[in-house]
Amino acid sequence: MQTKTQQLNKYYFKTKRMFLGMQGTDGLLFKVLIYGLLIGIGFVYLYPLLYMGVYSFKSLDDLLNPLVNWIPTQFYTGNYEQANKVMDFFSTLMETLYVTVLPALAQTAVAAVVGYGLARFEFKGKKIIFILVLATFIIPPQVTLIPRYIFFNELNILGSLSAFLLPATFGQGLNSAIFILIFYQFFRAVPKALEEAAQLDGAGHFRIFFTIALPMALPAIIISFLFSFVWYWNETYLAAIYFGDALTTLPLQLQKFVATYQKMFPAEMGVSGGNQLNEGIKMAGTVLSILPLLIVYFITQRWFVEGVDRSGITGE
């Protein structure tokens, strides 16, 4: 009798430990809860993307058929063909790369230089400059938009890449403050010994910067470039105003997707279906406009995630 209760007790504790764990964080129940939440929220996060992907492959019949929900009955690529025509995908892609890669490069380069200057040198007014750099982050672009617009108009660079490139080259691009901060934190974390040794050997500051500091900062350069690239890519407000009709990007094309579509395929009176714009085509357009970013992200995602660490806002 005695042994039986003991045995039961033992089992009881064993199962309890299995479910609730020793410390409250390693039990099975807790694990299930955490994974359940993560997977559930992850699904909610991905839901719009899944929906987009599925709908972009649905033919008109599938769209109208209420029984077809998540799996299209056939692999239909007609939507993509239409969307490709409307957005003129490849030439727009090239243009988008042109107006995003170059400003991103300029922005990264200047952020490296400025960040290095702030991290390695002491000079009068450095504190003020540092505060101003951070302050530029909270100034909404709308406030400087109109004067810049007038200014660019006078310089006659509206509708050309310079409208993006010029501010970026002088550290006033999109979120420049963040990139300067990333380089500042990076250079402060790197030991000075190598640079001091080079200085003793008689190298000048600029030579040290280009031959020693810059190669070391490769991770920061990659991170800044990627973030900058993505932010320029997704910027439609300023792009629409500065570029007008002269230059276009994939997100801008998506913005006027419906209008372009109707111009290209005028709705024929009385004939329904056929050339009508439908959900599937719109979704295909949306997928096309984010596909390049998705590819870049999946190749380089480790850098994006590290980037937040590197910005050092988590405090060192």
Binding site: T25, V113, Y116, L118, T136, Q142, L145, Y237, Q255, V308
Partner: protein, 286 residues
């Protein structure tokens, strides 16, 4: 020695000079100029821009005549007051979950950061139009239907907004999750062990140690959230400013005034949010 220091002084300035020049030309001057424009009536003629001083005319117009602007400001503030705390709390919860010993942490991090990459204005707009930014199949539930039937009333409006835009709101949290996660992972494990020995439960540990030590990160995230939320291209105020910029009867002067009001609003929101966080912190420590 002094010359050497002077030399370093100048080199430092040289390194920073591109930014200083850029700041003066592309930020400081435009800021002042738009402030100047906001007190003017601007007419664009063939000889250039003609301005006429109208005192606070533009500002008065914004608050008295232009109903849309006030409306939009109110919705913007309302939505911000709802969304920002949700974003902060949600990203903190996700960060706490990811900070546990989970397998595939990398995969989850990739998923939660993904929206930051693709969330441009037109894409989000397309998603909202398709109605896929709400919780899947919420329309079938009774709560939603009763809410949808009476959209008036303060709380109903808020709830409806929440339900309809939940995914978009959650999508704003990518960067914030990573900031919290990075901070959590840098926390000293020894504190946790010490607290354990003293008999603190996980719950107590979170409220008494984890959360207070995260306050600076919460402030950073608040600033980041408010700023990104405010300058996002779907923001109704931004749209209104743009519309007025190219309108003949209002023009640059009025648009400048609007953008300055908007700037001050953002600054005030930031000041209140950051102020509230730091005040609370002081109280905790005394």
């Amino acid at each position: 020695m002094k010359r050497l220091r002077n030399n370093r002084n100048i080199t430092g300035l040289l390194f920073v000079s591109p930014w200083i020049i850029g700041f003066l030309i592309f930020t400081a001057f435009p800021l002042l100029y738009s402030l100047f424009l906001s007190f003017q009536q601007v007419k664009i003629t063939t000889d250039g821009i003609k301005t006429k001083f109208v005192k606070f005319g533009n500002y008065e117009y914004a608050f008295t005549v232009d109903g849309t602007f006030l409306d939009r400001v109110m919705t913007y503030l309302e939505e911000m007051v709802i969304s920002v705390p949700i974003i902060i709390v949600f990203s903190l919860i996700i960060a706490l979950l990811l900070n546990q010993k989970v397998k595939f942490r990398g995969v989850f991090r990739t998923i939660f950061f993904l929206p930051v990459i693709i969330a441009s204005g037109p894409v989000i707009k397309e998603l909202i139009d398709q109605g896929i930014t709400t919780i899947p199949s919420i329309e079938q539930y009774a709560i939603y239907q009763t809410l949808n039937d009476n959209p008036e009333g303060f709380f109903n409006g808020i709830l409806l907004y929440l339900i309809k835009n939940l995914i978009v709101i959650l999508w704003y949290s990518g960067v914030q999750i990573l900031i919290f996660l990075a901070a959590l992972q840098k926390m000293d494990k020894q504190i946790f062990e010490a607290a354990k020995i003293d008999g603190a439960s996980n719950w107590e540990f979170f409220w008494k140690i984890t959360l207070p030590s995260l306050v600076p990160m919460i402030v950073v995230n608040l600033i980041y959230t408010i700023v990104t939320y405010s300058v996002f291209s779907l923001n109704p105020i931004i749209e209104h400013i743009q519309k007025n910029m190219f309108k003949v009867d209002t023009g640059y002067g009025y648009a400048s005034a609007l953008s300055w009001i908007y700037f001050l609003l953002i600054a005030a929101a930031l000041a209140i949010a950051v102020g509230a966080m730091t005040l609370k912190r002081k109280k905790n420590y005394t």
